[in-house]
């Protein structure tokens, strides 16, 4: 298990400032899915009762449908668990030194990446859609000069506030350790633009 008091490779004096998960609406979606899937067999049962169908008293179909319903319930239970696990294991931790991004993709794939705050070049917050605007949740993108995918905090609560906090932490970190984003940018520029060819 991961402890906020003992993060992997934690430096002396490093403290956790933000601990973020996706907005609760994502988790509510998983529960709504379960609720909807639970209503289906109940609706079928009511339809059988109302239609006076005798299929459940058939020597083969009664037991077969019972087993099918049992399998259905088990599968819905594990799908719900997988969705909760996916929600529960998507974590973003912001300390005064770095950003740690832990993402669970399904049950068998997991990505853990980290970024030092003095490498950050740009932070963008994004709120989109009616629900996002009304409930104030959205995305935060953190861009470095390095040639890698930008960090994305997906569907987090109050992305604008998170952006401001991270921007403040980035400024403080750059004061302490220097601006590593400029060095990275210079390195990339050196790699991308070849020197002028010499003419004979």
């Amino acid at each position: 298990m991961i402890s906020l008091k003992a993060l992997p490779n934690q430096e002396h004096g490093e403290v956790t400032v933000l601990f973020l998960r996706r907005y609760w609406l994502d988790l509510a979606g998983a529960f709504l899915f379960t609720l909807a899937m639970t209503i289906v067999p109940i609706a079928v049962w009511v339809a059988i009762k109302l239609g006076n169908l005798t299929i459940m008293s058939q020597p083969f179909w009664g037991p077969a449908l019972t087993l099918l319903l049992g399998c259905y319930m088990l599968v819905v239970a594990v799908i719900t668990m997988a969705q909760i696990t996916d929600y529960f294991l998507d974590i973003w931790i912001v300390t005064n030194e770095r950003v740690i991004n832990i993402e669970q993709h399904g049950l068998f794939s997991r990505t853990i990446s980290e970024l030092r705050l003095n490498q950050v070049q740009d932070i963008t917050s994004e709120t989109a859609g009616f629900l996002g605007t009304f409930l104030t949740y959205g995305n935060v993108f953190i861009q470095t000069a390095a040639e890698r995918e930008r960090f994305q905090f997906k569907n987090i609560d109050n992305p604008d506030d998170v952006k401001l906090i991270i921007a403040k932490l980035v400024t403080e970190c750059k004061h302490r350790h220097g601006d590593a984003s400029l060095e990275q940018e210079e390195q990339i520029t050196d790699h991308k633009i070849p020197s002028e060819p010499h003419t004979a």
Partner: protein, 92 residues
């Protein structure tokens, strides 16, 4: 001409396979939460919910399945829905 008979418990074989698969999947979920989750009260609650929820579903399924006489044999003709056989395996 003799009709092909088979006992109902044959149906339990694919059911047992699905039960095994979902149980293994459930344990994978628990393993992931226990290994990669945060050390917090919330994680404990989620783990208890997983165990409790899955056990509850298992109990309901167990009650449903145990109410059937699995030794009963059926013929192919009885598989056809509404074939008119009045014998109920639920003892109804």
């Amino acid at each position: 001409m003799t009709a092909f008979h088979f006992p109902l418990w044959y149906l339990l074989i694919p059911f047992a396979a699905i039960l095994l698969a979902t149980t293994i999947y459930m344990f994978f979920n628990i393993y992931h939460i226990a290994k990669f989750g945060m050390q917090s009260f919330g994680t404990t609650v989620v783990l208890l919910l997983y165990f409790g929820g899955y056990l509850a579903v298992l109990c309901v399924v167990g009650i449903m399945v145990s109410s059937i006489d699995w030794q009963h044999t059926v013929t192919i003709i009885e598989i056809l829905p509404f074939a008119g056989n009045s014998t109920s395996t639920f003892g109804l």
